[in-house]
């Protein structure tokens, strides 16, 4: 589904990713771990098409298509979803209205009829149970005044609604207490399917207790330094990142 070859990315003129290779197949959950400044969030944001992340080399194929050629919104409509580490607050834009617009943009892109208000509310009702999204979160402005936990739940809720082929969770566990973490993890687990791939970017092992990955990769200094199965995460938890860094210097967020 996703094939990253020798990806190099600059942020504000600084080389952060120095050649990343990663292959993700449908049905798989990959965890990308690494110390602060290793480049793991940069990888997530570059995949989502953030304008400040400049690709200086390599290629990314998403279902055989050149992902890097696509606008951020085309990527989303083609089925790439990123759950933000810091979801943006958007004053004055009603959350439900925004979700409906996003969903219909995608449906239109795929030649499906747009959902009307009734159909949409039905869908919302179905999906909101899973993440304990209440009516007030839907009627407020997007993320405005949401607590940290509400913001992350809202991200996963959007993911559940948009049903992406590839979901990238960027430090979704940061700032969550254990109850919120479980809620979010349940939401993500409910989305696991043989046709969907999930990339979980995280600093800590604890999210992986709840979302158990098929593969774990360690990023350090802008390079993949180790890949393995889910047991690698446990080893990292025990030993820290120091033994992998081998003198590779960290390079900023």
């Amino acid at each position: 589904m996703l094939d990253i070859k020798s990806l190099q990315v600059k942020v504000e003129g600084k080389q952060i990713l120095k050649g990343i290779d990663l292959r993700v197949n449908a049905g798989e959950v990959h965890a990308i771990m690494g110390p602060n400044g290793s480049g793991k969030s940069t990888l997530a944001r570059a995949l989502s098409g953030h304008p400040e992340y400049e690709v200086t080399g390599g290629e990314v194929l998403f279902e055989g298509q050149d992902l890097l050629e696509m606008d951020p919104d085309t990527r989303a409509r083609e089925g790439v979803f990123m759950a933000f580490q810091y979801p943006v607050e958007i004053a004055g834009v009603n959350n439900a209205y925004f979700l409906k617009a996003a969903l219909n943009a995608k449906r239109k892109h795929h030649g499906q009829p747009e959902l009307d208000a009734m159909e949409f509310m039905q869908l919302i009702k179905e999906k909101s149970k899973l993440l304990d999204i209440d009516q007030s979160m839907l009627s407020r402005a997007v993320n405005e005044g949401f607590s940290g936990g509400e913001k992350k739940r809202n991200e996963i809720f959007q993911m559940a609604l948009l049903e992406p082929k590839l979901a990238i969770l960027d430090e979704t566990d940061s700032g969550l207490d254990i109850d919120a973490l479980k809620l979010v993890a349940n939401g993500v687990n409910a989305m696991r399917s043989p046709t969907r791939a999930i990339i979980v970017v995280t600093h800590y092992q604890r999210l992986l207790d709840y979302i158990v990955p098929d593969h774990v990769h360690v990023l350090s200094g802008g390079r993949m330094v180790k890949s393995g199965g889910k047991e690698l995460a446990l080893e990292l938890e025990r030993r820290g990142y120091g033994w992998l860094e081998n003198g590779v210097t960290a390079v900023g967020a």
Binding site: P51, I90, G92, F98, A101, A102, K106, L162
Partner: protein, 441 residues
């Protein structure tokens, strides 16, 4: 301020030829206003209140009082909300009965041409007219007071609750004059406990150079609730200078919604005197400018009595090389303890060449008060755009959503559904043109 004699001379000629034949008191007022205008001349950018608004295109325009135009020339088609409620229409400042709709006014409500009210409601008019629009230091108010021969008069008797909105519509129309000026005048007297919605609209043809110089006086009696809407949608070559003067008596609640969408130069002054304990005012404003246009909003809330809250929020959307000025003055007099004043001013700059000068001006002479103000000027938030795009919304749709959210905050406060719909239509069709222009570059 000294004026170049040759530039002001044609204006003085117009003032010398001011309307005659009114009752003595009114003629006296016109005479005093005329001589005051002669002494003041026009303000220049050296006047603090006009520092960022250069009106020389108006002064150089040598506008002359507009002659009458056939009522049929008064084009209401450009006013989407024209059909709402009762309405009095004035073409080139003159009452146009054919276009007005005053047939079903409730008892106790009088809406009439000011020229006729001067004789038919002499006592009320004489008691209130000119009481608020002080021309001692305001040259445009002096010019208006010297020249206004007609306008709209609204009198609502104590205790009346008006279900339907009252509209006052000023339309500029070709009259054969090359540079027509209208001295628009409005007097609203709302008695005690009155509840009313008043919509004041200014419109004119897109291709005509003209000047509207308007003065509005509104009296809100004790416990009255007056919702005032001003829609300034003058033609692109029009100039608009207007001052609205409001007197709020004890426990009155006055709300102003100002929409400034048209004109090459627009200057709107809103001056509210909270002159009774517990009087309250809310000033909401939304303005839009593009191209080389200039829009200037000056507001002044005078807290003269204790326990008066005021809330103010003005928002602007600027494209092209448009410029805006916002000056929000709040005065709290020594007696006005427990004043609670909040002012917010925000502007969205859609292009790099657009600019705004904004200034809060607080003059506080009481000690137990709460006054806050804040201003935020900026372009669309890139993070917000990216967030919306990352969910599949195309760039243009994302931008549109953010602009509508910005303006919607003010539009949503409009309590007359047809008016809100009309304003949305007017605002968004104009914005669509601006954005198209921006995208072409």
């Amino acid at each position: 301020m000294p004026q170049l004699a040759e530039r002001i001379r044609p204006w003085l000629t117009a003032v010398d030829e001011r309307p005659q034949g009114a009752p003595r008191w009114l003629q006296d007022l016109r005479d005093r206003a005329a001589s005051r205008f002669g002494a003041l001349g026009f303000p220049t950018v050296r006047d603090e209140d006009w520092r960022f608004t250069n009106i020389s295109p108006i002064v150089a325009g040598e506008f002359r009082p507009a002659g009458p135009a056939p009522a049929a020339a008064g084009d209401l088609a450009s006013i989407p909300h024209a059909g709402v409620g009762h309405r009095i229409v004035l073409v080139n400042g003159r009452f146009a009965p054919e276009l007005s709709r005053l047939g079903s006014l409730p008892r106790g409500v009088r809406v009439a041409s000011l020229a006729s009210a001067v004789t038919e409601q002499a006592d009320v008019v004489q008691r209130y007219f000119g009481q608020l629009a002080d021309f001692g230091s305001r040259s445009f108010a002096a010019l208006n007071s010297a020249l206004a021969s007609d306008g709209a008069f609204v009198h609502i008797a104590d205790g009346l609750i008006l279900e339907e909105a009252l509209q006052i519509i000023f339309v500029a129309a070709p009259s054969g004059d090359a540079r027509p000026m209208t001295s628009a005048r409005v007097l609203v007297v709302a008695g005690e406990r009155v509840q009313a919605r008043i919509v004041e609209t200014y419109a004119g043809p897109a291709d005509m150079a003209y000047f509207t110089n308007a003065v509005t006086e509104i009296f809100a009696g004790e416990n009255a609730v007056v919702d005032h809407y001003k829609v300034q949608q003058e033609g692109a070559r029009g100039f608009h200078v207007a001052s609205m003067h409001v007197h709020a008596a004890r426990a009155a609640s006055f709300t102003s919604h100002s929409f400034s969408l048209g004109a090459r130069i627009a200057r709107n002054d809103a001056i509210v005197l909270l002159d009774g304990e517990g009087a309250e005012c809310t000033l909401n404003g939304l303005y839009l400018a593009d191209g080389e246009r200039l829009v200037d909003n000056h507001t002044m809330i005078d807290h003269a009595r204790p326990h008066c809250p005021s809330h103010e929020i003005y928002k602007g959307i600027l494209g092209g090389s448009a410029r805006a000025v916002f000056n929000g003055k709040i005065v709290v007099r020594p007696d006005a303890q427990k004043t609670d004043a909040k002012q917010t001013n925000r502007a969205l700059l859609l292009s790099d060449n657009a600019s705004i000068n904004t200034k809060p001006q607080l003059e506080i002479f009481a000690d137990d008060v709460k006054c806050t103000h804040g201003a935020a000027i900026g372009q669309l938030d890139d993070d917000a755009i990216f967030y919306l795009r990352s969910r599949g919304l195309p760039y243009f749709e994302a931008r549109d959503m953010l602009i509508r959210a910005f303006a919607g905050d003010i539009l949503d406060r409009v309590k007359i559904p047809e008016l809100r719909a009309g304003l949305e239509q007017e605002l968004y069709s104009q914005l669509a043109k601006d954005l198209e222009e921006i995208d072409r570059q």
